[in-house]
Amino acid sequence: MIDEATLAQMNGEYFMPPDAGPAWRAAMEYGFDMSLVEDALQLTPEQRLEQHQRALDLILEVKEAGERHAAK
């Protein structure tokens, strides 16, 4: 049996950590996905840069695909 809170999280609702301070709450309320920041903080700086590179590669790939599509 899945409880309501878990189901909400499965549906994409962010669970605010009990120790979240005002800045953390403000960033979440502003619209940042703080679960991504939580994940990033578990990585080493080098892993963060590698993750960033993968995101960047994807963005550039999508941008290029869009440009190719527009040129057709």
């Binding site: 301070g21 960033a27 903080l41």
Partner: protein, 165 residues
């Protein structure tokens, strides 16, 4: 044009360029979930260091990306004395080299407010979190103000969990 920050950083390291990582990549290294399309560094703008930067990118077809006719990056003695910033397009992406950072100061000031981060391809210095927040605040663009919200949250979290870096 691909942006390969690791390759650019490795090249700068190989040539012993004196620099501090600033800007968006610095935010990423601190844990911010942002994507940035360039590599910004603050460097000592003396002749020797500028020559090292030149050596790091010379085979990457570097061009002054903000000049209207994309002038090639070719240092002269005169340029070494007059450049304050070098904004380049290279085969490995955009590399912006600044002599100073708004809200912080010149390279010496930036270095004093930086911390070492070790990676498998070398040790690099990046602006500490407070200095990065100050720099973003001084820049004052919407994207900087957005980033500050994240950086403040990370600072707060680090205050709570001392093992985070």
């Amino acid at each position: 044009m691909p942006q390969n920050d690791k390759a650019l950083l490795s090249r700068l390291k190989e040539q012993k360029v004196e620099f501090v990582i600033i800007g968006g990549v610095c935010g990423v290294l601190h844990g911010a979930s942002l994507v940035t399309l360039d590599l910004d560094i603050c460097c000592r703008f003396n002749r020797e260091n500028l020559r090292r930067i030149e050596a790091a990118v010379k085979d990457l077809h570097p061009r002054h990306r903000l000049t209207s006719n994309k002038l090639p990056f070719e240092l002269t003695a005169e340029l070494c004395g007059s450049l304050k910033n070098i904004c380049l397009n290279t085969d490995l992406g955009v590399l912006d080299c600044l002599s100073a950072v708004a809200g912080i100061g010149d390279y010496e000031q930036v270095w004093k407010q930086s911390v070492p981060y070790s990676m498998s391809y070398g040790e690099f210095r990046i602006l500490n979190l407070d200095a990065l927040i100050a720099a973003k605040s001084a820049a004052g663009r919407q994207k900087d103000l957005d980033a500050i919200r994240l950086l403040q949250a990370i600072k707060e979290k680090r205050g709570q969990q001392k093992d985070l870096f």
